[in-house]
């Protein structure tokens, strides 16, 4: 393709990415170093609110924001450097906990608690997604041609379901009087509460994520299997390679670029785990980094929110993803250069 034609095709999406991804990202990056607060003053105000029959009037000293002539709240913005980052990571406390090997003290800090779960979630689900995806792909590839269509359709169903809805469905199945929970109780003969402690919730979350994402791995790897060179497979069979050896030395190396692609996507997705925390109402026991950002961002009932900490938290999440992706990106880059 000519460079000009290439540029003409790519330009619209590049412009979109600059406007809708790069610019907000830079803005949030900048925001994470500044803190905007309303200017407040102390005032004593009498407030009267209803009882059932009478009125309760109280004198309260409140901090009220100052308003300018136009009736807007006066704010001041100051540069705080890494202040918001420090407020999230709490380096001094964390370091004290790490240097004394005090695991509980480290987990008492929300960020580290969230990081612990996020990393574990990412690295436990990754191999399971790949294994299940590859297994289903091989199985479908070996079923009779007439059955493949329906089997592929059924295998893809979990991937089609909206994540929050899927998480809610799993919660309703396993909550105290849920269908599957009652089944478990009947089988085990004693009460089971899947949502009353952290580790059972974590297992359910990982189970749900693998169930939900494995079809994605499956469909990519299944497509890869269609391009498999059958001469190479037959040659391996003539050489006496067992089923396992053919998988290990012919099929997997052929699928490797796709496996790396699935890994890349899954690492990015899993590190941003959020739907499960919301859907399972897990915030008492388990939180993730993305949930932490959300929690900072959502205003409380009197309208306060922590924009700066939310910005810093989302930057930290992005840095985490980049660190996870570096080895894979380097490998892809090396292959790309090698193939030129």
């Amino acid at each position: 393709m000519k460079t000009r034609t290439f540029a003409a095709f790519v330009a619209p999406s590049l412009v979109m990415m600059l406007i809708f991804i790069a610019a907000p990202l830079l803005y949030v990056f900048g925001q994470s170093f500044y803190l905007t607060t309303p200017v407040t003053e102390q005032m004593t105000v009498e407030t009267c609110t209803p009882g059932f029959l009478t009125q309760n009037c109280t004198q309260e000293t409140k901090s009220l924001p100052k308003l300018d002539e136009a009736g807007r709240i006066v704010t001041q913005t100051q540069f705080v450097g890494f202040g918001s980052y420090r407020a999230i990571i709490e380096p001094a406390k964390a370091w004290a906990a790490i240097s004394t090997f005090d695991y509980r003290a480290l987990m008492a800090i929300d960020f580290w608690r969230a990081l612990r779960f996020t990393l574990m979630f990412t690295f436990v689900t990754l191999p399971l997604v790949l294994l299940v995806g590859l297994g289903v792909a091989l199985a479908v590839n070996n079923t009779a041609r007439t059955l493949r269509g329906p089997v592929i359709f059924v295998s893809l169903l979990p991937f089609i379901i909206t994540p929050v809805i899927g998480a809610l469905a799993i919660r309703w199945l396993f909550v105290s009087d849920g269908l599957l929970n009652n089944g478990l109780e009947w089988m085990l003969g004693h009460p089971v509460s899947m949502f009353s402690q952290g580790w059972t919730i974590e297992i359910l979350m990982m189970f749900y994520r693998v169930w939900h994402v494995a079809p994605f791995a499956f469909i990519i790897l299944y497509a890869g299997l269609q391009t498999l060179n059958h001469d190479a497979l037959e040659a391996a069979m003539i050489d006496g390679a067992s089923r396992w050896q053919r998988l290990r030395y012919v099929i997997v190396p052929h699928l490797m670029p796709l496996i790396i692609f699935v890994t890349l996507i899954h690492l990015m997705d899993a590190y941003r785990v959020f739907d499960e925390v919301v859907g399972f109402r897990a915030e008492a026991h388990v939180i993730s980094l993305q949930y932490l950002t959300y929690d900072f961002l959502i205003p409380d009932s009197t309208g306060n929110r922590s924009i700066s900490r939310a910005a810093a938290s989302s930057m930290l999440t992005m840095v985490g993803i980049l660190i996870l992706l570096i080895p894979l990106l380097r490998r892809t880059w090396a292959q790309h250069r090698g193939s030129r």
Partner: protein, 406 residues
């Protein structure tokens, strides 16, 4: 903390109808309202719609957008529905107008205690009060010969007796869902011991003996609850009652009507209400009084405000209340309390009486910090003292960002 906000947020609009059957005047100004979505608001906005040219937006998560919507010029809504804490950002931002003139002109039928006054000016018109109070299974209490508890110590004794009798597996229900609900349970119990949660200078005041006692009592209560209590919100407790799984709970008055709804409840007529138990004998009921009411936006024309105020009053008039008397503890003339309203009214009229939930920014911040940090105590990750210290730190960080603490 605010997941009740995302997953289950129900947003639906009642379109304005042209039927003007029950409205005293014909409204010609297009008007919009933004309120919460529970039964009482459905009834009130339904009655407002009878005046015509009116669109209601009922959204349980209204608070996340209300300040921004009222801050637009002109305001995106004319009428707002608020409660103790959600009115704070509107007043602080100057986004709602004083109603003294309009009340003088049109408000002859309003009761004096419906007028929410801040600094001498009427800023909102209350339509109902809400409070958490004790609901209990009268049949079980009678059968076991138990007295209705008036303190939390008695609640524990009664719970033990009910558990021993095997009538229900978990005698107690509680809105202990991590986040806002758990924070509210703490606020209720703490205020029963000590009314000061935040000092006048904005510093936190909960890390003390009352705080420890509150946490210990709440923890003692959870021993009689379903083990998944940290995911239990008002709807869950209501369903536990309706399915006959619990015998007692300190629950919102607005949930009372559902107990006698034969379509949902298996315990129709068996549940009764009493005043919220006190934290200490002779003390005030360990709960807070809430009100829900209407406000009128500041950033609209005076003509619109006049029409909006008239429509709003039509929505909270005697005619609406007589048709929907079981939806809430109404403050409106013509309200006759139903059987299940008794407990809430006893709570609101007790001596000493339960305090009103404080309408301040600092209280909102404190509630948020409690909601974020308390669960660590209940899961056993932190001791009571460490938990309160964490609440203090969380509050202080947020209060500095909000500019209320230097």
């Amino acid at each position: 903390m605010y997941l009740r906000k995302l997953a289950l947020a129900g947003v639906f609009a009642l379109m304005g109808t042209t039927a003007m059957a029950a409205c005293a005047f014909e409204n010609t100004t297009p008007l919009k309202s933004l309120t919460a979505g529970f039964e009482a608001w459905k009834s009130a906005t339904g009655a407002m719609a009878e005046c015509g040219n009116f669109t209601a937006e009922l959204d349980q998560e209204f608070a996340t957008k209300q300040a921004a919507a009222f801050g637009a010029s002109p305001s995106l809504y004319h009428i707002g529905g608020v409660a103790n804490e959600t009115v704070v950002p509107l007043i602080n931002g100057g986004l709602i107008r004083p109603l003294d003139d309009l009340v003088a002109k049109y408000g002859a039928n309003l009761q004096p205690n419906q007028l929410i006054k801040v600094d001498g000016k009427i800023m909102a018109i209350a339509m109902m009060v809400n409070t958490q109070h004790l609901m209990y299974r009268e049949d079980i209490f009678t059968e076991l010969g138990l007295a209705v508890p008036t303190t939390y110590a008695e609640v524990l004794t009664a719970a033990e007796a009910i558990k021993a009798s095997g009538k229900v597996e978990y005698p107690l229900g509680g809105t202990f869902k991590a986040g806002w609900n758990l924070g509210e349970e703490f606020v209720n119990m703490y205020m029963g011991l000590n009314p000061v949660m935040v000092n006048a200078d904005g510093t936190p005041a909960i890390n003390n003996e009352a705080g420890i006692q509150t946490l210990e009592m709440l923890k003692a209560l959870t021993a009689y609850m379903h083990p998944e209590y940290l995911t239990s919100d008002s709807t869950f407790v209501q369903q536990q009652f309706q399915q006959g799984k619990i015998a007692m709970a300190n629950l919102w008055a607005s949930r009372g009507g559902a107990m006698d709804d034969p379509a949902e409840s298996q315990v129709v007529g068996k549940i009764n209400g009493a005043a919220a138990p006190a934290a200490v004998a002779g003390g005030a009921p360990a709960t807070t009084l809430w009100w829900d009411g209407i406000v009128i936006a500041a950033n609209i024309t005076d003509a619109e405000a006049e029409a909006a105020f008239q429509v709003a009053l039509e929505g909270i008039d005697t005619e609406m209340v007589t048709a929907h008397s079981d939806d809430a503890i109404w403050l409106i003339p013509g309200y006759t309390p139903g059987r299940l309203a008794g407990g809430a009214i006893a709570t609101a009229t007790a001596t000493p009486s339960a305090p009103s939930y404080p309408s301040t920014t600092t209280q909102g911040l404190m509630h948020g910090a409690l909601g974020n940090q308390l669960q660590a105590f209940f899961t056993g990750e932190k001791s009571a003292a460490d938990t309160l210290a964490a609440v203090e730190a969380d509050y202080t960080a947020a209060a500095k960002e909000a500019g209320v603490l230097k």
